[in-house]
């Protein structure tokens, strides 16, 4: 019996290994490329004035995006206030009250589906219920559409994190006569604290870089946001409008805004990751 030569096998093995390593490198190169571009263009646009003044008209240099920074922060915060409690309690329902019940199975399924619905569809929906009836765009509508995006993410992580808490903890609390709601709030939440916080931070990170849901709801505005009851300036829609404009100073400002958004989102993501790792 003749032995099959082993070099073709070894060669194909080496080729595949090289290709796999190159693929990983490919991903890293693009990440570095994008971050480098944002850093280079963005850093040169940043200044104290950029952070504290209103936008300037095209062709006139020196304006800032203070209104958009405030608008984005206000809408994200409001979205958290609305979306996080609802998501949290929906997650509590799924983990604590809805084990093996058919309604909970349906809701669990819908939460997963809802996380995959494109954000532009959520914007479209909020437009039809909050903008069209009143006849004008508003920051409130923007906050609601962001809240709708936060809700399923928080619900999902809450359920996952509460399910991870050992059942014996739950049972020992109940055995001591602690009511179910107190055991959930004082024992389960405490045990799952880091995980819950990670979920919320990740949801906020995801939402604060969103543009599509704000296009039809908050729109944009070059003025100070006195109330959220009208078009509200925000960083991401500003990037879209400025980048598509032919004016160099606006494009420059778009890069500055890109830098702020990227830095904010990446910082949130990295903090939440570190938190999740620390727990393990």
């Amino acid at each position: 019996m003749r032995r099959r030569p082993s070099w073709p096998r070894k060669l194909s093995d080496v080729i595949v290994k090289v290709l796999a390593a190159l693929s990983a490198l490919f991903g890293l190169v693009f990440l570095a490329w994008i971050l480098y571009v944002v850093l280079r263009h963005g850093a040169s646009a940043l200044s104290w004035k950029f952070l504290t003044t209103l936008p300037s008209p095209p062709g006139v240099g020196g304006g800032g995006l203070a209104n958009a920074i405030i608008g984005t922060a206000a809408m994200t915060l409001l979205a958290c206030v609305m979306g996080v409690p609802v998501g949290l309690m929906a997650g509590v329902y799924l983990a604590e009250f809805g084990r093996g019940n058919r309604f909970a199975t349906l809701v669990r399924f819908l939460v997963n589906v809802m996380m995959g619905i494109p954000s532009i569809i959520v914007g479209l929906f909020v437009y039809t219920i909050m903008v069209r009836p009143v006849g004008h765009f508003s920051g409130w509508a923007g906050a609601v559409s962001l809240a709708l995006l936060i809700m399923p993410v928080v619900a999902r992580t809450t359920e996952d994190m509460l399910t991870l808490v050992p059942n014996s903890l739950r049972e020992s609390a109940l055995a001591l006569g602690v009511p179910h709601w107190r055991s959930t709030v004082q024992i389960m939440f405490r045990a799952a604290k880091a995980g819950l916080l990670t979920g919320v931070l990740l949801a906020v990170a995801r939402v604060s870089g969103e543009t599509a849901p704000l296009l039809f709801t908050a729109l944009d505005s070059p003025y100070w946001p006195h109330s959220l009851n009208g078009p509200t300036g925000n960083l991401t829609v500003t990037i879209f409008n400025y980048a598509m404009s032919p004016y160099p100073n606006w494009q420059q400002a778009a890069w500055g805004a890109s830098f702020l958004i990227t830095a904010g989102v990446l910082a949130l993501t990295i903090v939440s990751r570190a938190l999740a790792r620390e727990k393990k």
Binding site: L31, M89, F103, P118, T128, T236
Partner: protein
């Protein structure tokens, strides 16, 4: 004694309130999903009534004569998603292979985290990069090269402008890459090490074990990851809007500009003044909603089916 009874009553009230609030919030998820569907249908009824099923196949898009059809948007959505998956799926498989089977943990961990970071970059940043950096690069270097070698194919015909279907697909590929990689990586790591070790014990190389043991064992899971990537790519808005060129036409060339459902919405929605125009745009949104809904359902069912088979279900 009295005090004690009122105490328990308060406790019972608190318990009911807590349970009720949780239930209400769960119902809210159901309500919002239903409301999205109902509102989209309600607001597209003008267009539904006027164009009927023909909306799906008509390539017309003329706000002046009020003639609308979804064909070019659907075509662009499908083509850009297909390009994205053709690039991202093999890359994700290779990256997962590198992370799970080849790299030392000290390298695999930071590289894995970096790939995950690609998912954290907001869509609009991909758009900025795509429009101002990638598109000029494609126009100057990549597209002329493709034309030099495959110029006779209609796929690569036309002037190399940088923006267009190919660039949109490439940006989308980068955006879904981390999602598919994460799923594939988990699937690869789930393959029992005894099975792999049995392969290595027979003298098989890493590639042989991957191909004949790991991939065969995890194939269904990989498909689930592809579904997730598909769902992401198909509804992606801002990045695509920046680089696809936004043109209502169906062209054979990948260099030509086109549009997708979401890019059409992003571009034209705030300009739509007549009720029928607006209604047609909402109907586009409805189509996208139904498509992603179906993909999500398929993906969920499929992943559930797999995790049962692999015995990892909770």
């Amino acid at each position: 004694m009295m005090r004690r009874r009122s105490h328990t009553r308060a406790q019972a009230l608190a318990e009911t309130t807590f349970h009720g609030t949780a239930l209400t919030c769960a119902v809210l998820v159901l309500v919002s999903m239903t409301a999205i569907f109902v509102e989209l249908v309600r607001n597209s009824r003008l267009s539904l009534a006027k164009f009927g099923w023909g909306f799906l196949t008509s390539a017309a898009w003329n706000p002046v004569t009020s003639d609308f059809g979804a064909a070019s948007s659907i075509f662009g959505t499908l083509v850009s998603t297909a390009i994205a998956l053709l690039i991202a799926v093999p890359l994700s498989l290779a990256i997962a292979l590198f992370l799970v089977e080849m790299a030392h943990p000290r390298i695999a961990r930071p590289v894995g985290s970096a790939i995950e970071l690609l998912a954290a970059i907001p869509s609009i940043i991909y758009g900025m990069w795509g429009l101002f950096v990638l598109a000029p690069y494609m126009a100057d270097h990549v597209q002329p090269l493709l034309q030099k070698f495959f110029g006779k194919l209609p796929l690569f015909a036309g002037p190399p402008m940088g923006i267009g279907m190919l660039s949109a697909g490439l940006v989308l590929a980068l955006m879904v890459l981390p999602f598919i990689t994460a799923v594939v990586r988990d699937i690869f790591a789930l393959v029992p090490s005894v099975m792999k070790e049995a392969g290595y014990g027979m003298g098989a190389t890493t590639w042989e074990v991957t191909r004949k043991v790991t991939l065969r064992h995890g194939m269904r899971g990989v498909l689930g990851g592809v579904f997730l990537g598909l769902g992401r790519a198909i509804g992606e808005t801002m990045a695509v809007t920046f680089v696809i060129g936004n043109d209502h036409r169906i062209a054979a060339s990948l260099f030509a500009s086109g549009n997708t459902i979401s890019s059409t919405l992003a571009n034209e929605f705030t300009e739509a003044s007549q009720p029928l125009y607006l209604s047609a745009l909402v109907e586009l949104g409805l189509i996208l909603f139904v498509i992603t809904f179906l993909i999500q359902i398929a993906a969920q069912l499929w992943l559930k089916h797999i995790s049962h088979r692999l015995g990892t279900d909770k």
